[in-house]
């Protein structure tokens, strides 16, 4: 079978070298980030970060919890990971891999000589165990069994030899490699909680509760668990067996310890950062002026801005299936949504809500994502209330009784509820601006505040008219298919398209022509292995999105991080993104 090594050319030499090394330990050399300001560091020191709440467990696959995710990122690794600079996939626990020409067979060769933090060697058994018993286990709460069924058929994983595993897919799936950033877990510690070890499938969720003995939690990551004090602190210590080295061959991580202080309140987090108890903190646009002001006044930290690839750009959605049939009819009319977009004052929102620390959004793809983004800025239009008013006039939505509000039908005002989150730093201000501007063109908006946690469930319930919400951008649109493919599980602004049963075929007959086209694009792109063809498909999708506005994106916030001057090699901490962990490079000056 001819093999095709699907990695970036710059890494080929590294991989070849590693292969030549054979049975020798093959640490990964982390180089090539001088443009991100990365230099050689020195070992030692402790670095303190913050967690918004106590991790609910230490089993990454047992609970869905971002706080655990932030800790787990330092304890475990996946087969592949992101390049810090360009987000391309590169080797991690897998030293190299091959993909068969038909795109259906992925063979991963494991890095030689990697050891768990307790000294046991990492083998193909661990990888197969993790995938079979945990990730593909439908009872594992944070597993991902759904991603291993393509067209209703299972992906299979098998061990080829002690250092090689093979995935066989029922059909080609070009985003498959990108997804294999799942953390690999130790078989020798988790066997007793797994089906393979004789337990029930759901028992895996009970492994490693938050009061587990520290020595039980074993990983391949840069750190291992040191101590967990409920409600106060999680301490990690350096894993001496970590498999990465810097350009000079010094073992990573540089740090001896990594502490997470548990502080729930954002204001309290800032206070702790200013007091010097926290060394790095991600902040919002609203907090920026104060903290930047202190930096300028000579405080011992720096505030760093960077454009964001991941992260959620807020949008406003109109319910195509609103309970009021007149509203539903207007909302599903693309001319209405385009008219309302002209009443959307994006520059003002970027200025006042984000303090200028945001930019114009893309349509489903972040502008920073060079891989897939198509410039649709012109389709965003410009803020022009008069033009918006004229467009609404043309739709027959006029104010006939002179009360300042347009009528949707005889004697009935064009008036709707805007659902937004009251406990967010951006939505309340944004909702007020929208209400104000929409009011000026005779569209009456009633604000309906709910908790941010309930935004999605409210959206999915269909009990709303317009909503402010945000869904994250991802490096590959395929990963956000349930959101953007019409009829998808999260495509909630047109709920009548959703299949009668989960996993069934959506109601294609009810789709607008443009929705049908997007639906087909996502289906095609999911199986197309040719990059340029996929690019063309997703380009078409972004244009259709921009023209038809299933939802109207508002802004793409920037990443802002504050970092103490005591530390070097800081790269913005993205949050829980498996396969993106620059902390091993951080060093104490």
């Amino acid at each position: 079978m001819p093999k095709y090594v699907q990695i970036k050319p710059g890494l080929v030499s590294l991989v070849t070298l590693a292969l030549l090394g054979g049975a020798l330990a093959a640490p990964k050399k982390v180089t090539g980030y001088s443009n991100l300001g990365i230099t050689d560091g020195k070992p030692g020191g402790t670095y303190t970060l913050v967690l918004g709440d106590s991790p609910q467990s230490l089993n990454y696959y047992g609970v869905i919890d971002n706080n655990l995710g932030l800790v787990a990122q330092q304890l475990f690794d996946g087969l592949v990971e992101f390049n810090y600079a360009n987000y391309k996939i590169e080797p991690a626990l897998a030293e190299s891999w091959t993909v068969s020409p038909d795109g259906k067979v992925y063979t991963f060769k494991l890095r030689q000589g990697v050891r768990w933090s307790d000294g046991q060697p990492l083998t193909a058994d661990d990888v197969v165990f993790t995938y079979k018993n945990i990730i593909m286990n439908p009872e594992a709460r944070a597993g991902d069994a759904g991603n291993f069924k393509l067209d209703g058929k299972d992906v299979t994983i098998s061990k080829v030899d002690a250092n090689t595993v093979r995935f066989t897919l029922p059909r080609a799936a070009p985003a498959f490699l990108l997804q294999q950033r799942y953390f690999i877990m130790p078989r020798h510690k988790l066997l007793k909680f797994s089906q393979e070890g004789g337990a029930k499938p759901a028992d895996i969720n009970n492994a490693w509760p938050s009061n587990v003995a520290e020595s039980e939690v074993v990983g391949t990551g840069p750190f291992r668990l040191g101590n967990y004090t409920a409600g106060q602190k999680v301490s990690l210590v350096k894993n001496p067996n970590y498999w990465k080295v810097d350009a000079k061959g010094t073992k990573l991580p540089y740090l001896n310890g990594l502490d997470f202080l548990i502080i729930r309140d954002p204001q309290a987090q800032v206070a702790q950062f200013l007091a010097g108890n926290i060394d790095q903190l991600n902040i919002t646009g609203a907090q920026f002026p104060d903290i930047k002001g202190r930096e300028v006044a000579g405080a011992p930290f720096k505030v760093i801005r960077s454009t964001a690839l991941f992260g959620s750009p807020p949008f406003i959605a109109y319910n195509f299936d609103a309970k009021d049939p007149a509203l539903a009819k207007v909302f599903s009319d693309v001319r209405f949504r385009r008219a309302m977009q002209q009443a959307l004052n994006r520059p003002r929102i970027i200025d006042t809500v984000y303090n200028g620390l945001a930019s114009l959004p893309g349509h489903g793809v972040a502008p920073a994502n060079r891989e897939w983004y198509v410039n649709t800025t012109r389709q965003l239009g410009t803020f022009d209330l008069a033009a918006a008013g004229r467009a609404l006039d043309a739709l027959g939505l006029r104010d006939t009784n002179g009360d300042g509000v347009r009528e949707i039908s005889r004697g009935k005002n064009l008036e709707f509820d805007l659902t937004y989150a009251t406990d967010s730093s951006v939505y309340p201000a944004m909702a007020t601006i929208l209400q104000n501007d929409f009011g000026k063109i005779g569209v009456k908006v009633n604000l309906r505040g709910i908790l941010a946690k309930n935004l999605l469930s409210t959206g999915l319930s269909g009990d709303w008219e317009a909503i402010l919400h945000a869904f994250g951008d991802q490096p590959d649109p395929e990963l956000r298919k349930p959101i953007w493919q019409p009829g998808g599980a999260l495509y909630y602004w047109h709920r009548s398209l959703q299949p009668a049963q989960d996993g069934g075929t959506p109601n294609v007959a009810r789709m607008f022509p443009w929705e049908k086209e997007i639906y087909n694009i996502f289906d095609d792109a999911a199986t197309t292995t040719d990059r340029s063809k996929r690019k063309a498909l997703y380009t078409r999708w972004q244009l259709l999105f921009a023209q038809n506005l299933p939802v109207t994106p508002i802004a793409k916030p920037e990443n802002i991080g504050a970092i103490s001057n005591k530390y070097g090699n800081y790269i913005y901490n993205l949050g829980v993104i498996p396969g993106y962990n620059p902390v091993p490079l951080v060093y104490q000056k």
Binding site: P138, N211, T229, G503
Partner: protein
Amino acid sequence: MLNYALRRILGMIPTLLVISAVCFLVIKLQPGSFTDQYLEDPRFTRETAEAISRQLGLDQPAIVQYGRWLWGVVTRFDFGYSFLQNRPVVSVIGDLLGWTVFLSLITLLFSWLIAVPLGLYTAFNRHGVAASIANFFGYVGLAIPDFLAALLLVALVLQFGGTNVGGLFSPAYIDAPWSWAKVVDLLNHLWIPVLALGLEGVAGLMRQMRASTLDVLTQDYIRTARAKGLPQHRVIWRHAVRNAINPLISLAGLSLPSLISGTIIVSIVLSLPTIGPLLYDSLVNKDQYTALTLLMLSAFLLLVGNLLADLALAWADPRVRYT
């Protein structure tokens, strides 16, 4: 007396039963379900949501869920399972109970030690300058919410370059073994929450103490005592204070439930490891058994506090006797 206490204790059972049913109903009436909030996560699918609902028994009718919980409580003293933490509710609460009780007791002690003497002083020296100042600060204390007081104290500490701006310990001491240095560090952090939490209590208690003392001072028996020529300190301590303190005993009993819900915002603002934020989280996330257990605990403490207050009153006030 014993008979009375027993009757009261038995009477709690049906009350608690009704309270638990109402609490469960209220929790269930919130929109959405425990699993909804996770759907935004890219690694989460709808099948997983359903699997979790099944694992947790959330696919059963509400009445069955409630019945099973109640049966567990009655037969095994098992208060259910925390969805959020993958652990029994009892162990989750147990983790935080120590610090919660410690903080509450310290705060209670602080506010009583300050408020009772101050209240007496202002009552006996009604028109003095010192009393007016104390009264003024009492009003201020009442007007400022505890979390605001906490924020102001934190801002103040920060302004003077302090690092003790939250939590109970400096980061380095959190998981260190107990030592003198750790105790000193604790004291260095403790005064902020105690002051913030205690201040409101001080103001209220002081006003209460002042009012009831003034009330007592106009009574006939005080005049009689004075007329008999009893020394001032005996009039005050033997007759006035003993009678004036009765309403405070009831107040103390009623303050027991604040163990759970009284410190929610301050604990969040100051990152204190107490039960308050757990209640908030469990309600917001629909972690139903944790929320239910905490609400029940709160109700139970209220009932116990009432009972204790009644018993203490009976002991302190000869006019109140139960047969």
